[in-house]
C-alpha cells in the first residue's frame, strides 16, 4: 500500500489506455508519455500494461506501507527518499515507512512512478487508466487526493538492484530552451486553410496556453483562417488531431480527447511525437513540421528500436549487478 501525502496538481493512475470502447464514446486515456511509461514498468520488471502513477508538475509525496521497488521516469522532479536524492530514470528499493518526495518538475511536465507488481486498482472496461471525464478507472475514477491509500500488487519477482539508465540513454523529449518541434501529417482541411495561414502555421512558433491538460493543448499565435467557413458533420478523431475552431487558434487533442469532433482538421501529430506533447508545459513553444506518412512510419520504427535498445541495456545492467552481488 502507498499513502498519498501530497497529490500535486494532478496525479492519476494510468496504463496503456482503454482501447476497445471508443465506438461507444469512451476514449483512450492512458499515459501521456507512453515512452517514459514503458521504461518505468520495465525497470521494475512489470508487465507492459501495469498501472503506474502519472504525476503532473511534481510537487507530490507518498508514504510506503510495505517494502517494494520503485522506478521514476519522465520529467525530473528532484525526488528524494527520506531526504536522500533519488535519480530519475532509476529503479530503487523502498522500505515500509519511507517517504518519497517530488519537487516541482523543472524540465518536462509528467513524471511516472512505477512500483513492482503495479498499482492494483480494478480494471474498468479493459483498463486501469483513469478516465476523468467518464469518471471511471484508476482510483475511484478521479485524480488522487491527500490521504488516499493505493493498493499495490504483491511482487514475486527477483530482488532488484538499485540501477537505472545512463545519461546518454535517457530519452530526450523535453523542450529545448522552452521550444519543441512536433511533426504532423496534413489532414482533411489542410488545403482549406488560406495559403498565408498555411505558412503561418508552419513558420511561426505557437505558445502552449494555460488551458492545456490531458484533454488537449490549446495553442496561441497569429489566428489562422479558412478560405470559407466550414460546418462539418461529426466524425471520429484520434489523439494528436490538430483542430481549428472558429477562433483560429489551433487545439491539439490528447489522450483524454473526445472520440468524435466536428472542427476542421489541419492535421494529426505523428504518434512518435505525442510523448513530446505529453511533456510540454504551458508557456512552452511548439513549432510544426510537415511529415509524410512514410517518414512517420520510419520514425515510429526508429522509436521502437530505440526502446528495444534501452530495454536491452536495462537487462544487461541488471544481469551484471546480480553477478556482482
Amino acid at each position: 500500500m502507498i499513502e498519498v501525502i501530497t497529490p500535486g496538481i494532478q496525479t492519476t493512475v494510468q496504463d496503456r489506455g482503454r482501447k476497445k470502447y471508443r465506438t461507444i464514446g469512451v476514449g483512450f486515456s492512458g499515459a501521456m508519455d507512453a515512452f517514459s511509461f514503458a521504461i518505468a514498468n520495465y525497470l521494475v520488471m512489470n508487465d507492459e500494461d501495469a498501472a503506474v502513477l502519472e504525476i503532473t508538475y511534481g510537487n507530490a509525496s507518498f508514504r510506503f506501507q510495505s517494502d517494494t521497488y520503485v522506478a521514476l521516469t519522465g520529467a525530473d522532479a528532484s525526488a528524494t527518499l527520506d531526504s536522500k536524492p533519488i535519480s530519475c530514470w532509476w529503479c530503487f528499493p523502498v522500505r515500509a515507512g519511507q517517504v518519497l518526495r517530488l519537487k516541482i518538475s523543472t524540465e518536462g511536465l509528467r513524471t511516472y512512478l512505477a512500483v513492482a507488481g503495479g498499482f492494483d486498482v480494478p480494471e474498468v472496461m479493459g483498463s486501469r487508466s483513469t478516465d476523468l471525464k467518464t469518471q471511471i478507472g484508476g482510483f475511484l475514477g478521479r485524480s488522487l487526493q491527500k490521504g488516499d491509500i493505493l493498493p499495490i500488487s504483491d511482487y514475486t519477482g527477483p530482488e532488484l538492484p538499485s540501477y537505472g539508465l545512463s545519461t546518454a540513454l535517457q530519452p530526450i523529449h523535453k523542450p529545448v530552451n522552452g521550444e519543441c518541434v512536433v511533426r504532423f501529417i496534413a489532414g482533411a482541411e489542410w488545403q482549406s486553410l488560406m495559403s498565408d495561414s498555411q505558412q503561418t502555421f508552419l513558420l511561426s512558433p505557437w505558445q502552449v496556453s494555460n488551458e492545456t491538460n490531458r484533454l488537449g493543448a490549446r495553442l496561441e499565435g497569429t489566428a489562422l483562417s479558412l478560405k470559407t467557413p466550414l460546418e462539418l458533420m461529426s466524425h471520429g478523431i484520434v489523439p494528436g488531431c490538430i483542430q481549428l475552431p472558429p477562433s483560429g487558434q489551433p487545439v491539439i487533442q490528447l489522450q483524454d480527447a473526445n472520440t468524435c469532433g466536428g472542427y476542421p482538421k489541419i492535421g494529426v501529430v505523428i504518434a512518435s511525437d505525442l510523448r513530446t506533447l505529453g511533456q510540454i508545459k504551458p508557456g512552452n513553444m511548439v513549432r510544426f513540421k510537415q511529415c509524410s506518412v512514410e517518414s512517420a512510419l520510419d520514425i515510429a520504427q526508429q522509436e521502437t528500436e530505440k526502446l528495444a535498445r534501452i530495454f536491452q541495456n536495462i537487462d544487461m545492467m541488471r544481469e551484471t549487478l546480480f553477478h556482482q552481488n
Partner: protein, 237 residues
C-alpha cells in the same frame, strides 16, 4: 460549402455515387467521408456505413472503425496492413451494395423540459429558423430520430432526423461547461449530453434520461439504428 482544393487526398470512385472523400488521420487511421456535400446526414448512407464497418472490423490489421455522421474513421496497424490496402478494401466494399443484417432496434422516449437555464439558445434557434419558440419545440418533439452513431462522450447518441428547419450552425465559441442531460442541436444533428463538459451546440432543454450507466451490462443505453422521440415534459420560458 465546397471549395476548390479542399481535399488534399481526394480520390474519386467513378463507378460509385456518392463519392467517398478520403483523408489521412495521422499514419494509422483514414477518414472516409460520404456526406461532404450534404447539409443534414442521410439515413440511407448511414445504413451502408453500418454494414461496411462490420465487415471492416473483421479484417486482420484493422483495429477500430469509428462511425461518424455519414463518415467513418478506420484505424489500422500499418505493419499488418498498409494504408493503401485499407483504402482498397474500403472502396471494394463501398462499391458492393449489400447491406448487413437487420439491426436490433430499440425505441426510446426522452422527456424534456424545454428552455430553462439556456433559454437564450432556444430563442436563438427560433430566431435563426424564423419560427416561434412554440413551433421550434413542436418540431423538435414531434420528429422521429435515428441513432446514427455513438461518440464524443460515453454513450452520447448522434441523432439524425432533425427537421431541416432547425438546422443551425454550432456556436461560434463553445460554452466551457454544460451539465449532462442537456438536449442539444447543431449542424443538422440532435443529441443529449452524457457528461457535464464543454459544448459548442445549442442547448434547447434538459432531461433526466441517463444515456450512459457504467453499472449496466451494456453501459451505453443507445445503439446505432435505435429510434428516439422527445416528449414535452415542461417548458420554462
Amino acid at each position: 460549402m465546397k471549395s476548390d482544393n479542399r481535399f488534399l487526398f481526394m480520390k474519386t470512385l467513378p463507378e460509385n455515387k456518392p463519392e467517398l472523400i478520403i483523408s489521412m488521420m495521422g499514419e494509422a487511421a483514414i477518414l472516409f467521408d460520404a456526406g461532404v456535400e450534404l447539409d443534414v446526414p442521410a439515413l440511407g448512407l448511414q445504413k451502408k456505413i453500418w454494414s461496411i464497418s462490420k465487415r471492416l472490423e473483421a479484417i486482420k490489421g484493422i483495429s477500430e472503425v469509428i462511425i461518424g455522421m455519414n463518415n467513418f474513421l478506420v484505424s489500422f496497424v500499418p505493419a499488418d496492413l498498409p494504408h493503401a490496402e485499407v483504402q482498397q478494401k474500403v472502396s471494394e466494399y463501398w462499391q458492393q451494395d449489400e447491406l448487413g443484417g437487420a439491426l436490433n432496434v430499440k425505441s426510446h422516449i426522452i422527456d424534456v423540459v424545454y428552455g430553462g437555464e439556456y433559454l437564450e439558445d432556444l430563442k436563438q434557434v427560433a430566431e435563426y429558423s424564423q419560427l416561434s419558440i412554440d413551433r421550434v419545440i413542436e418540431l423538435h418533439s414531434t420528429s422521429k430520430y435515428t441513432v446514427f452513431t455513438l461518440g464524443s462522450q460515453p454513450g452520447l447518441p448522434y441523432l439524425g432526423g432533425l427537421p431541416s428547419k432547425l438546422d443551425i450552425p454550432r456556436r461560434s465559441s463553445p460554452r466551457a461547461r454544460v451539465e449532462s442531460g442537456a438536449v442539444i442541436v447543431a449542424g443538422g444533428q440532435a443529441s443529449v449530453l452524457s457528461r457535464t463538459s464543454a459544448c459548442g451546440w445549442h442547448v434547447i432543454g434538459q432531461t433526466d434520461y441517463d444515456v450512459f450507466n457504467i453499472k449496466n451490462d451494456s453501459s451505453a443505453i443507445f445503439s446505432p439504428g435505435d429510434i428516439v422521440e422527445f416528449r414535452v415534459k415542461g417548458v420554462h420560458l
